[in-house]
Amino acid sequence: MKTAFTPSRRKFLQQSAAIGGGLTFGFHVPEALAQRSDAPGAEMNAWVVIRPDDTVIIRYARAEMGQGSSTGLPMLVAEELECDWRKVRIEFVSTSEQLRRNRAWGSMATGGSRSIRDSQEYLRRAGATAREMLLAAAAQRWKVPGSECDAENGVIIHRPSRRRLRFGQVAQGASKLEPPGEVKLKDPRDWNLIGKSANRLDIPDKVTGKPLFGIDVQLPGMAYAAIAQCPVFRGRLRSVADERILGARGLIKVVKLEDAVAVVADNWWRANRMLKTLPIEWDAGPDGGASTASIREFVRFGLEDTSVPVARDEGDVEAAFAAAAKVIEAEYYAPFLNHAPLEPMNCTALVEGGRVEVWAPTQNAEATHATAAATAGVPLENVDVRLTHLGGGFGRRGFQDYTRQAVAIAKAVEGTPVKLLWSREEDMQHDYYRPMTLMRFKAGLDAAGNLTAWRIRDASHSILAGVRPQDIKEGVDRHALGGIVDLPYGVPNLRIEFAMRNSHVPVGFMRTVFHSQNPFMRECFVDEMAHAAGKDPYEFRRALLQAKPKDLGVLDAAAKASGWGSPLAAGAHRGIAVQDSHGSYAAAVFEVSVSGAGELDIRRVVVAVDPGHVVNPDSAEAQVQSCVAYGLTSVLWGEITLSQGRVEQSNFHDYRIMRLAEMPKNIEAVLVPSGGFWGGMGETPLAPLAPALCNAIFAATGKRIRSLPLSNQGLRLV
């Protein structure tokens, strides 16, 4: 048994080391939506349990952080199962079962818009397999050939005799049958659920205030921890005068970590208040003098460096520049950003008798599990992680710093469950930030305005350098070059260079990742090319995308829906951009007006998306709206700055988030699924937004935006 177990155990650890994915497992927050039930049921396979009353439990192994996949994934199973959708309940998987059952649920990671596209096939197959077993069990009972039976809406029907059996009546017997070796999946034309809007299963609990989130976990005898981390990244705790709070009301313990101090008390407010009164001395380390300016200069050196790795080199750009009728150059900049999920980082842990139990809002449950085991110094088999809903994730919750801290604190008060909650200030100042990136472009155009040569130098922090350094080949981080190294445009002479410039600031995956800043730079520069060529920016792109029908398709869809080229109201101007990412394709058109005083009015936003297949159109539309709010927040105001090695922003008063009054009122999601592939939906719509907006601003003002946020460029939203 042990040897058979080893490969999956290794896989478990590998998966755990990879950040940015998975999640989930049955958890025991009171009244939680996904609570595991002990009610009897027949397990058809790892994904499907059917109860005698026909309730169908579909297991969910990813993280629900708002994107709606806890409804979309069960729809995929139910489509093939042919059950009654109204009787579907979901149940989270727990990591101890995942480990015990040889990773029966595949990846539990949630990130990179992968939940649907990576699991759609095995989920549909699980549904189809269970359906075939139910059909076989009914046929056996009736003693008829299986080919005479159909499954429909939770019932098996024997066509010739019109006899019927409910799923719940045959499930027990069916679960004992051998699963069929092969099943045929439905033709998309026959889908009944996929592609039609369904109400999300999690919404009733979310409008009644049910305790679904990590922060809501409540255990008997639980203590609460607040934490202060060294304000300078990579710094250390020197000393803390914890005798100052001895005997304070509610104090349980002061826990010293290498780079942090935690106060454990009988409620969180007391813990946090005591923490604020504690005199703490930090050793800032070598980075205590760093500032935004010094880091920017450090990263920018990558643009000047005479010797950097080359990612692509096709044709001869230098010769083409020499022969060009026109050459243009530009330099772009994007700042650090904080994810700012509304639920701050938190994790609840209990260390007792060589076992660890964890309750965590995590995007990577298996990494949480492995982190807990390593921190407590116990084998993987002695750990369980129960999953909760996430109050936003956006990539932040794939990292496991909060898990490590919670387990370390719990170990210091062994036998007492502890809920660690970061204050907003800690959350703002200890993120894995979206990387600061600079890019320099040079392009050559011939006399007819055709693009003949393009050179791109990217100087950026690398996320992979921190999480998967083995994926950086010969100094080129293709992940950091997303949208650049794979640009869809046809250009005969192309050179792409990459300078990795990692400062002391930790960087991480933030919604759309490098496709949040790289498209801003690429697509604004394409706009510069079009204007230099004297061509319409839409037509200029069309000409370069002739070999890329999917990119062309969304570009055309956005142009058509926005009425590109048609007359506009006085003062209104349009901008356009296109960007594929996360397996899908998106294009956007913005209509804006800008007053002489820099008052920016976003009059209309059109976003066309081709994700191949759309599972739940209403959720897909919600993701477009979500990307608009998240993306525009970054473009308009988003900037994390540093001074003395530490982040200057601390809360929402100085890290501004879009409010309702600021949300554009006219947003159109144009879904154009072209079939034949499965792409992501939670991130791609964000990619073309920044450049489409900035290109519209250029059309309105003649001012080219090459540095974000817009609040630093004399522009103000009205």
Binding site: R200, T208, P211, N267, G392, S423, Q625, Y630, N651, L660
Partner: protein, 155 residues
């Protein structure tokens, strides 16, 4: 000892007078609907009603609630029936992650109580709670829908 009414029930808590109402509700009384998001009255995730008025409970000291009536999302349904705002939130599929939605709903209920037929401008002014998932367009639609559904039937 501070005594007050939470969702129609008398409750008491042995806490410091300056302890914010949010933490009394969450950590002492196990009322988890109001959420912590910022602690400085910026985000509104902690919105509850104090004597019918929407307040940001992270910035209201427990002493200010003494003897008063507190209503949280948990107390919104009446006799097992959801409030029209909650129903509109389901009809229009408003929540995404859902973390801010208790506060959003409490703010919307307070708005409609004062102004049964709010304009877009009224909604802009009243609904200042942050939503990081960007559910704003649907919040606006759902408030208008709830306003319609709450109109007294015509005679």
């Amino acid at each position: 000892m501070i005594e007050f009414t939470v969702n129609g029930r008398k409750r008491s808590a042995d806490v410091e007078p300056e302890m914010p109402l949010l933490w009394v509700l969450r950590d002492v009384l196990d009322v988890k609907g109001p959420k912590y998001g910022c602690g400085i009255a910026q985000c509104g995730a902690c919105t509850v009603h104090l004597n019918g008025e929407p307040v940001r409970s992270c910035s209201v000291p427990a002493s200010a609630a003494a003897g008063q009536n507190v209503l949280t999302i948990e107390g919104l349904a009446q006799r097992g029936r959801m409030h029209p705002v909650q129903k509109a939130w389901i009809d229009h599929q408003v929540p995404q992650c859902g973390y801010c939605q208790s506060g959003q709903i409490m703010a919307a209920v307070a708005l409609l109580k004062k102004n049964p037929n709010p304009s877009d401008r009224d909604i802009d002014a009243a609904m200042t709670n942050l939503c990081r998932c960007g559910t704003y367009a649907r919040i606006r639609t759902a408030i208008h829908a709830a306003a319609q559904s709450m109109k007294p039937a015509k005679a």
